[in-house]
């Protein structure tokens, strides 16, 4: 029993950053913007969170600054792709390249230092429940936020007026503009939300998952998060399912590595990436379904006519 809980706990820890980053990107893509810079925002969030926590001794301040750093970084993408209508694919790549470089530079003095960990917060009464208690009600704050993001985004997108407007912009920015909805402003806010989520995901990596700074510690999670959004056909609950599925794959391969089985560790390490490809193939095989789910204005620039 305890072993099962311990294993499942590692799965939640592996799934949380994917969930957060993918949930942020889901909102961004629903507004019709494709931000391929998730990897860069995560890694910048991770290094800023670690450095702040290290210098101040307060991991909560670290997490906050990580989120803010992700947000600030996403604004860079926003300014180029929304205000200057640059190619979104290329701009997102630029964000990732810059993020990996910048984080390496900021983090240089922090390599190898033992980090400050975000401690779990037990929720009174609920935490003492068997199984779900330690799994769900005795976790760190970023885990709670990740679950909150699923609920919040679902409610926001499908139960609020501005959520409806955001989806309208994603499906047809021209019509939304004609209806008097502010396309650019809404997209800016969506991009910033994506930045906050990715920054927090990064903070989780350097404050919870492995409380230390390692260069390129995001290790492709930003890209997996992007794939998760496609996999989830732009629906929040499916993102939740997908993130935990990937968390399980990641942890499964780690345990398989520990057990050996005579399979080279590199092959097992490659599993999450291969699984991503496999899942993408399965989900996008049906052309018509993909077309129906994809926000119709995705990755298209918008210049308002006046």
């Amino acid at each position: 029993m305890e072993l099962i809980v311990a294993v499942l706990l590692t799965v939640t820890t592996a799934a949380t950053p994917l969930l957060l980053a993918a949930m942020g990107e889901l909102v961004v893509e629903r507004s019709g913007v494709l931000n391929l810079g998730v990897e860069g925002m995560i890694v910048v969030g991770a290094v800023v969170a670690f450095a702040t926590a290290q210098l101040s001794g307060n991991p909560y301040l670290g997490a906050l600054c990580g989120a803010l750093a992700g947000c600030a970084f996403s604004l860079l993408f926003g300014f180029l792709s929304l205000t200057l209508v640059t190619n979104q694919v290329a701009t997102g790549l630029a964000l990732t390249i810059l993020g990996l470089g910048l984080s390496g530079m900021i983090g240089e003095n922090f390599v190898g230092q033992p980090g400050v960990q975000l401690e779990p917060i037990a929720i009174p009464l609920l935490a003492s429940l068997p199984l779900v208690g330690p799994l769900i009600f005795n976790q760190d704050i970023i885990f709670y936020l990740s679950i909150l993001s699923v609920v919040g985004v679902s409610w926001f997108l499908f139960r609020t007026r501005i959520g409806l407007q955001l989806r309208a912009i994603g499906d047809s920015h021209g019509s939304a503009h004609a209806l008097g909805i502010s396309v650019i402003k809404t997209r800016y806010l969506a991009v910033m939300f994506g930045g906050v989520c990715a920054g927090l995901a990064g903070a989780q990596l350097s404050l919870v998952y492995t409380p230390q700074w390692v260069e390129n510690m995001s290790a492709g999670r930003g890209w997996i998060a992007l794939a998760l959004v496609v996999f989830a056909s732009w629906r929040p609950l499916r993102v939740l399912a997908g993130a935990y599925l990937f968390g399980a794959v990641t942890i499964g391969q780690l345990h398989a590595q520990a057990l050996g089985f005579g399979i080279p560790s590199q092959f097992l390490s490659a599993l999450p990436y291969l699984a991503t490809i496999l899942v993408l193939v399965l989900i996008s095989r049906n052309r018509r379904l993909t077309l129906m789910n994809t926000p119709a204005s995705l990755a298209q620039s918008f210049v308002p006519d006046r």
Binding site: L36, L76, L80, T83, L84, V85, T86, N87, V89, A90, T91, L93, A94, L95, I97, L98, G99, L100, G101, L102, G104, M105, E108, A219, G220, W223, L226, A227, V230, P264, Q266, F267, S269, A270, Y273, L274, T276, I277, L280, V281, S284, R285, R287, T290, V303, R306
Partner: protein, 364 residues
């Protein structure tokens, strides 16, 4: 204040030429600010970053060594990007080119003949192309997003290289270091001017690839097809061009060039396989392609500039103690400025300073 864009009637020929230079200028200014923030004299730092590597002959050779893979990969990517196929896994194709090309000098090292090198190069190209064929196949058959699949394959390729170098191909006489056997002399790409530096044939391959691609894009039907399908898949269909065939062509073409770059790097400058054979050439080449405005001739110049940032990073680390990561920051900034300046080609950018009264009037 707000920024408004106004579409130009046609694209601006002036800014098409000038925008990369504005971007370079802005990057240098941003670099000077960054150096100042790091408590370094910006003039000294910029000098050791961008000028010093150009003052000695041996370091010009190093420039050619770094520029060759960047140019080879970026020229291939330009065809891909122009046809609206987003191959961002060139790093993986580079690695696979290096691995497949190394089969002969590692597994059949007894074979010595002048044929070894040409066979290696061809196998390297085939390896890169085959690896690039995977995302192309997935895109055409299963409608899978090529950005994500090609990128995921980079991680897989890196792990595969790591495994093969530490496992089956580990040098039996190598004191257990994670390296393959060293290549015999007939498997090594000849140096151009051994008296003055290490530059090898790879830069010649880059020149040839640049010229051939430029010729294809400008004078051949295939080049026209690339542009038409890239700008409007619908128009391309009416012209009888096949979008699916173009996906394969673009990926195989860029994969083969990335593979050639990979085996040239392994055979020319590393001379054996190691767990890591690329300092991110496949990703930096994306910047090269955009800085060169997706034009092969422009890419050649851009490749030299980006190679300089690699050398400058190393030089600045040695001479003024800057972290070598700064090269990557420069590269990222450069791509940002390039993309931002390209806006000037199609739009007039206007800054509007509205008073509060005007804003209130607008609202009414």
């Amino acid at each position: 204040m707000r920024i408004e864009l106004e579409r130009r009637p046609g694209h601006s020929a002036f800014f098409s030429v000038v925008s990369p230079f504005i971007a370079l200028g802005l990057t240098i200014i941003a670099g000077a600010i960054m150096f100042t923030a790091l408590d370094k004299n910006p003039i000294d730092a910029l000098f050791s970053f961008f000028i010093e590597p150009l003052t000695e002959v041996w370091s010009l050779h190093e420039l050619a060594i770094k520029a060759a893979p960047l140019i080879l990969i970026a020229v291939g990517l330009s065809v891909c990007f122009r046809s609206n196929n987003w191959n961002i896994g060139a790093e993986g194709q580079f690695i696979l080119g290096g691995v497949v090309g190394s089969i002969v000098p590692i597994m059949f090292h007894q074979w010595d003949s002048w044929l070894v090198l040409p066979v290696m190069l061809i196998m390297g190209m085939a390896g890169g192309a085959a690896y690039a064929a995977i995302p192309a196949l997935l895109k055409t058959r299963f409608n899978t997003n090529e950005i994500l699949s090609s990128l995921m394959l980079v991680y897989v390729a890196q792990l595969f290289l790591d495994w093969i170098v530490r496992g089956p191909w580990r040098n039996p006489e190598g004191f257990n270091f994670p390296e393959s056997r060293e290549f015999d002399v007939e498997a090594i790409l000849p140096e151009l001017l051994p008296a003055s530096g290490r530059a090898d044939l790879a830069i010649i391959f880059a020149v040839i690839a640049t010229l051939l691609t430029w010729f294809m894009m400008r004078y051949m039907l295939r080049g026209f097809e690339v542009s038409v399908l890239g700008q409007s898949a619908r128009a391309g269909r009416f012209a009888g061009f096949s979008a699916n065939k173009m996906v394969f062509f673009a990926f195989l073409f860029s994969g083969a060039l990335a593979g050639l770059a990979g085996i040239s790097e392994v055979s020319g400058s590393i001379e054996q396989l190691q767990p890591v054979i690329s300092p991110g050439y496949g990703f930096t080449a994306i910047i090269v392609a955009f800085l060169g405005r997706l034009n092969p001739l422009g890419i050649f110049a851009a490749g030299l500039i980006l190679a300089l940032t690699y050398l400058g990073g190393e030089a600045a680390q040695i001479s003024i103690g800057l972290p070598d990561k700064i090269a990557r920051v420069f590269q990222g900034l450069l791509l940002f400025f390039v993309l931002a300046c390209d806006t000037l080609i199609h739009y007039r950018v206007r800054l509007k300073f509205a008073s509060h009264a005007e804003l209130a009037g607008e609202g009414a």
